[in-house]
C-alpha cells in the first residue's frame, strides 16, 4: 500500500521534472517507446523523459538496454526492439509486451546511439524510478544518483524511502543524500547543523566537496560549523591518504616481487645473469592469452576461471622453455656469468621476434575475470580487486617457493649444487638435472608472474622489457641469492616509489629511487641481505 502511494509520488515528481508534459499525457506507451529511435540526442532525451513520466515499470529495463547498447531500431518498420546477439544473428524482442519479434542480421537493424550525457541521464532516471525498487542494488544506485544530483525536490520522496529502508549501507547513502539536500534547501538552522554533522561524519572526499561548496552560500552562523567539518574531514583524509599511498606501494611491490622472484632463483641462486627473464614473463602472459582464447572458443562458461587454468599452464610452458634454454645454451656457460648475460640478451631479442611473428606486434586482449574487476572501500581506502588478488598471488607464490626450496628434496639438491657442485655431484646428485630443474623453476615462476601482469599491463612482445631492469634492481638491492631479500627489496622499492610519487611526480620519483639504489649499493655492496661465500661473486 505505502509502496503504491510512494510510486505515485515518484510519478508525480517525474511529471514535474518532465519538460514535455504534453507528450507524457499520451498514454500510448508503444508510440512513446518508438520515439526513442528517432532524431538526434536531444530528441531521444525528450522521448526518454516522456517514458519516465509514465512511471511504467517496463521503462527501467528499456532504458537500461538503451544504455547498454542492446536497444535497436529495425530499419524496415522503424520499430524499437531489444536485440540479443546469438551467433551471427540478432534475436529481437518487443520491449513493450515482451513478444518475440523474430531475428535479424546486423545490416537490418541499427543500434540506438547514446552518448555519455544521455547515459548519465538514463542512470538518474532509472535511479529515480527505482529508489523504491525491491532490488537492493538498484536502490543503492538510485540513492547514489540522487546524492549526485541533490535536488531539493527529491526530499519528500527520499524521506519516505528512508523510512522504508532497512539495508544499512543504502540507508547511510540516503542519509547523506538527505543531509546534502537539507543543506541546500531553506531548512531551519538546527536541521542544517545536524545535516553538516551527518556529512562531516562521512569523512570522505565527496563529503568535503559538498561542504566546501556549501560554505560560500551558508548563513554566517553556520559557517564556523561547516569550517570545522571541512577541517575534520581534511585531517581524516590526510591520514587515509598516507595509508592509501602505502597500499599503492604494497601493490606495486607485489608486482615487482612477482617479476623479480623468478630472477632471484636464476640469477640469485644459479648465478646466471638472465636477460631473457623478462621474456619468460612475457611468454607467461601470452600463455594466459592462449588459454583464454581456448576457453572462449570451447568452454565460454569457464571464462571466469580462466586464470586458474592459465597459472599452471603458464608455469609448465615457461618452465619447459626454461629447461630447453638451460640445456641448449646456458649449461655451456656455467662459471662465466657475464657470458650468460650476452647469450641471454641475444635470446631475449629472438624470443621477442618469435612472439611478434606468431601473434603479431600488437597488444593481445586478456580479459579480467569478473571477480577481479571493480573496487571496494575500507574506511577511506579504496582497494581494487585485481590489485588485491595480485598481492595475494604474490604472497602465495613466495610462500610456495620458500617451501619448495626449504622443504623438498629438489630444493635441498638445488642448494647443495649451488654451494658445492663437485661435492654434490660426487654424492650422487645428478647436477645437470638439478641445474635444468632450477632454471625451469625460475622460468616457470616468471611465467606465473606473466599471468598476473597480463591483468594490469600490455600483453605485447615488449612486455618483458619493461620489467627486466626493475627486477634486477630488486634482486640486487635485496641481496643476491636470498628470497627474503627479494621480498624486502621489492617492498622497499615499491613503497618508496609510491611515497615519492605524489611529491615529485612519477618521473622524478623513479629517478630518485634509482639514485638511492646506486648510493645504497655503495653502503652495502652486496645488497640488503648479503650472504657470505656466494657462488655468484667469487
Amino acid at each position: 500500500m505505502t509502496n503504491r502511494i510512494l510510486r505515485l509520488i515518484a510519478v508525480l515528481f517525474a511529471l514535474a521534472l518532465s519538460p514535455l508534459p504534453a507528450l507524457a499525457q499520451a498514454n500510448d506507451f508503444a508510440v512513446m517507446v518508438q520515439a526513442l529511435g528517432q532524431g538526434g540526442f536531444p530528441d531521444r532525451e525528450a522521448a526518454m523523459n516522456a517514458l519516465v513520466a509514465t512511471g511504467d515499470e517496463r521503462v527501467p529495463p528499456i532504458l537500461q538496454a538503451m544504455s547498454d547498447g542492446t536497444l535497436y531500431l529495425r530499419k524496415s518498420d522503424q520499430r524499437v526492439l531489444f536485440a540479443a546477439k546469438s551467433g551471427s544473428e540478432f534475436k529481437l524482442t518487443d520491449p513493450v509486451d515482451g513478444s518475440d519479434a523474430g531475428t535479424a542480421v546486423s545490416a537490418d537493424i541499427e543500434k540506438i546511439k547514446v552518448n555519455n550525457g544521455l547515459r548519465g541521464k538514463i542512470r538518474t532516471a532509472i535511479g529515480t524510478m527505482t529508489l523504491l525498487s525491491p532490488d537492493s542494488a538498484s536502490r543503492l544506485s538510485a540513492a547514489q544518483s540522487i546524492l549526485k544530483n541533490a535536488d531539493p525536490a527529491m526530499l519528500p520522496l527520499l524521506d519516505s524511502a528512508l523510512a522504508a529502508e532497512t539495508d544499512p549501507k543504502i540507508k547511510s547513502t540516503m542519509d547523506l543524500a538527505r543531509a546534502v539536500i537539507v543543506l541546500k534547501s531553506d531548512a531551519v538552522l538546527d536541521d542544517k547543523r545536524a545535516a553538516v554533522d551527518t556529512i562531516a561524519a562521512h569523512g570522505d572526499q565527496a563529503a568535503q566537496t559538498v561542504l566546501v561548496n556549501a560554505l560560500a552560500a551558508a548563513p554566517d552562523e553556520l559557517k564556523p560549523v561547516i569550517q570545522t567539518g571541512i577541517d575534520a574531514i581534511g585531517r581524516n583524509l590526510q591520514l587515509w591518504q598516507v595509508a592509501q599511498n602505502l597500499l599503492y606501494g604494497v601493490s606495486l611491490s607485489s608486482v615487482l616481487l612477482l617479476a623479480a622472484i623468478g630472477l632471484s632463483i636464476t640469477f640469485g641462486v644459479m648465478g646466471i645473469i638472465n636477460m631473457a627473464h623478462g621474456e619468460m614473463v612475457m611468454l607467461g602472459a601470452y600463455t594466459t592469452f592462449v588459454v583464454q582464447e581456448l576457453i572462449r572458443n570451447f568452454a565460454p562458461g569457464l571464462m571466469d576461471y580462466s586464470l586458474a587454468f592459465a597459472v599452471p599452464a603458464a608455469f609448465l610452458f615457461t618452465a619447459l622453455v626454461g629447461i630447453a634454454i638451460e640445456r641448449g645454451i646456458i649449461r655451456w656457460l656455467y662459471g662465466r656469468p657475464l657470458e650468460t648475460l650476452l647469450a641471454t640478451w641475444g635470446l631475449s631479442l629472438a624470443l621477442q621476434q618469435v612472439v611478434r611473428t606468431l601473434f603479431g606486434p600488437t597488444n593481445q586482449m586478456v580479459s579480467p575475470p569478473s571477480w577481479m574487476t571493480g573496487a571496494f572501500d575500507v574506511g577511506g581506502l579504496s582497494i581494487t580487486w585485481n590489485r588485491l588478488w595480485i598481492v595475494v598471488f604474490a604472497i602465495a607464490v613466495f610462500a610456495i617457493l620458500q617451501l619448495v626450496l626449504n622443504r623438498t628434496a629438489l630444493g635441498l639438491q638445488m642448494r647443495a649444487v649451488t654451494q658445492n657442485r663437485r661435492m654434490a655431484s660426487s654424492m650422487g646428485i645428478r647436477t645437470p638435472f638439478v641445474d635444468a630443474m632450477t632454471f625451469g623453476l625460475g622460468s616457470g615462476v616468471a611465467g606465473m608472474a606473466g599471468v598476473a601482469l597480463s591483468q594490469i599491463d600490455n600483453v605485447s612482445p615488449n612486455l618483458g622489457q619493461g620489467y627486466i631492469i626493475d627486477s634486477f634492481m630488486v634482486v640486487v638491492f635485496g641481496g643476491v641469492g636470498n628470497l627474503w631479500g627479494t621480498l624486502i627489496g621489492a617492498l622497499m622499492l615499491g613503497v618508496g616509489n609510491k611515497l615519492l610519487e605524489p611529491q615529485f611526480g612519477a618521473v622524478l620519483g623513479k629517478i630518485i629511487i634509482l639514485v638511492l639504489i646506486i648510493l645504497f649499493i655503495q653502503w652495502r655492496p652486496r645488497g640488503l641481505f648479503a650472504l657470505k661465500g656466494r657462488s655468484i661473486e667469487q
Binding site: Q353, N363, M365, I456, N458
Partner: protein, 434 residues
C-alpha cells in the same frame, strides 16, 4: 683436416645452403621505387608494423590498377628498429642507394625530426601519417595526420558543449614527450581563453611505458570530486595506455562521471583491451573503423582480403597513409614525373576522397583538410561516432598560441615557399626561404 680445408669446405656448404634458403628477389626491369620506413622491431613495432602492411597493401592495389605512369611500383621496406639515429641512416639509404621516389614512414616525432635533415639535404618527399604536435612545416614533408587543431581542440570543444557534458574542470594527463607537451600547451592556452580558471586545470606527466597508474588515477578521481563536471584529456603514449585504461576500469572511473578523451588510442590499441568497463570514454580522430560510408566498407573488405584476416582493425594512421599514398599518386600523375620539386608543386591543392565521405585537400602548408570525429568506446572495441565536423584545414602554427599568431606556411611554389612566414613583419623565419 687442416684449418684451410675445413674453412673451404664450410664455406662451400654454407654458400649452397644459404643461397637455397635466401631467395634472391628478381630485380624488376623498370619500376618506380617507394620507400617504406617503419619500425618492424623494437618498441615502436607495435604501432608501425600495421602501417608497413598498409603501404604494401596500397602499393599492391595500385599495381593491380596498372601501376603509375605505366610502370609498376616497387616497395622498398627497411627496418629502422625503433632506433632514431637508424631512422636517419635508413632514410639516407632509401633515397641515395635505392633511389626511391618518395618515402612513407615514421611514427614518433623523434623519428621525423631525425630524418628531416636527410630529406632536406637530398630533396626527397616524406609522407608522415601520424597526428603530431604541429609547429612545423617543411618543404619535403607532407603531414597527412592531424595537426592539433584537427584533433585536440575540436575534442575539447565537444566536451565543453552541452552535448558533451559541459565539462568545467580538466585533467591533462600525458606522457612526458613533445607531442603531449605541445598539445597541452595549446590546450591550456585555449581553455584559459575560454574562461576556465587556472585551478580547474591539472597537468600531469608520466614517463614512457609507465605501468603503475594507481596514484594517478586516484588523483584524477580526487580532482574530479570537486563538484564540477570533470574530464580527462589523455595524450598518454602507446604502451602506457593499456595499464592506464585497466586501472581506470578497476577504480571504477566511469565515462558518465569523468570521461577520458584520448588522442593516441585507436582501434589497434583497444584490440588489446577488454573494453566492457570503458564504454563511453572518448577518442578524437579523423577516421574510425566504424565510419559508415561505402568507401570505408570497400577499404576494410579489401584490407581484410589482403591481410587474410577478418579481425584486423583499421585505424586513423592507416587512413592517413591511404590519403598520403593516393595524393602522391595523383600528384605524380599530374606532374607526369616523380621528380621531387615537380611533385611538390603539383600536390598543393590536390584533393582525393577520404574514407569518411569527404575529401582531403593538400593545403599550401603541406597539411590536409580533415574532418574531426569524436567517438565513444564500445564494448566490442570499436568506436561509436558521436560527433563529426566538416573538414578542418590543418594549421601548422597554432592560432591559439600568442607567439604563433599570424604565422603561416606556404609551399605553393616549393622553390620559393616558406614554412614559417610572419604575416605581420612579412618575413620568413630568420633564414631566407630555402
Amino acid at each position: 683436416m687442416t684449418v684451410v680445408n675445413r674453412m673451404i669446405a664450410g664455406l662451400g656448404l654454407g654458400v649452397t645452403m644459404t643461397m637455397g634458403a635466401m631467395a634472391v628477389p628478381a630485380i624488376a626491369a623498370d619500376t618506380i621505387k617507394v620507400g617504406v620506413l617503419h619500425s618492424l622491431s623494437g618498441t615502436m613495432a607495435i604501432s608501425e608494423t600495421t602501417l608497413k602492411d598498409t603501404m604494401l597493401f596500397l602499393i599492391d592495389e595500385q599495381n593491380k590498377k596498372g601501376g603509375l605512369l605505366g610502370k609498376q611500383l616497387e616497395a622498398v621496406v627497411v627496418d629502422p628498429a625503433s632506433d632514431w639515429p637508424l631512422f636517419a641512416e635508413k632514410a639516407r639509404e632509401l633515397i641515395a642507394v635505392d633511389g626511391v621516389a618518395a618515402v612513407f614512414g615514421c611514427w614518433t616525432s623523434s623519428s621525423r625530426k631525425s630524418v628531416l635533415p636527410v630529406f632536406k639535404e637530398l630533396n626527397s618527399i616524406l609522407f608522415y601519417p601520424v597526428q603530431y604536435e604541429g609547429e612545423e612545416s617543411e618543404k619535403n614533408v607532407i603531414y597527412t595526420g592531424a595537426a592539433p587543431n584537427q584533433q585536440a581542440i575540436p575534442a575539447v570543444d565537444y566536451l565543453m558543449s552541452e552535448e558533451g557534458g559541459s565539462v568545467k574542470r580538466w585533467v591533462l594527463e600525458a606522457t612526458d614527450y613533445v607531442y603531449p607537451r605541445t598539445t597541452n600547451k595549446i590546450l591550456e592556452q585555449y581553455l584559459l581563453d575560454k574562461g576556465v580558471a587556472a585551478e580547474d586545470i591539472k597537468i600531469n606527466y608520466t614517463p614512457f611505458g609507465f605501468a603503475d597508474w594507481q596514484t594517478e588515477v586516484a588523483a584524477i578521481k580526487e580532482f574530479g570530486s570537486a563538484g564540477k563536471k570533470t574530464a580527462v584529456v589523455s595524450t598518454i603514449n602507446g604502451d602506457a595506455n593499456t595499464p592506464f585504461y585497466k586501472e581506470l576500469a578497476n577504480q571504477g572511473v566511469s565515462a558518465e562521471d569523468i570521461p577520458v578523451v584520448a588522442f593516441s588510442v585507436g582501434e589497434e590499441e583497444l584490440a588489446g583491451l577488454d573494453t566492457t568497463n570503458l564504454v563511453g570514454h572518448l577518442a578524437a580522430w579523423n577516421y574510425f573503423q566504424s565510419v559508415d560510408t561505402p568507401e570505408n566498407a570497400a577499404f576494410i573488405s579489401e584490407w581484410h582480403k589482403y591481410i587474410k584476416s577478418d579481425t584486423r582493425t583499421t585505424n586513423d594512421p592507416m587512413e592517413a597513409a591511404y590519403l598520403g599514398f593516393n595524393l602522391w599518386v595523383a600528384a605524380v600523375e599530374k606532374a607526369g614525373t616523380t621528380d621531387t620539386d615537380a611533385v611538390l608543386k603539383a600536390i598543393v591543392g590536390l584533393s582525393v576522397p577520404n574514407l569518411t565521405g569527404g575529401t582531403a585537400t593538400v593545403l599550401p602548408n603541406h597539411h590536409l583538410t580533415k574532418p574531426v570525429l569524436i567517438g565513444e568506446i564500445q564494448a566490442d572495441g570499436q568506436f561509436e561516432i558521436v560527433k563529426q565536423t566538416a573538414e578542418v584545414p590543418g594549421d601548422a602554427w597554432s592560432d591559439v598560441l600568442p607567439e604563433d599568431k599570424g604565422i603561416e606556411a606556404d609551399w605553393t611554389d616549393p622553390l620559393t615557399g616558406c614554412g614559417h612566414f610572419d604575416t605581420a613583419t612579412q618575413t620568413c623565419g630568420a633564414a631566407p626561404a630555402s
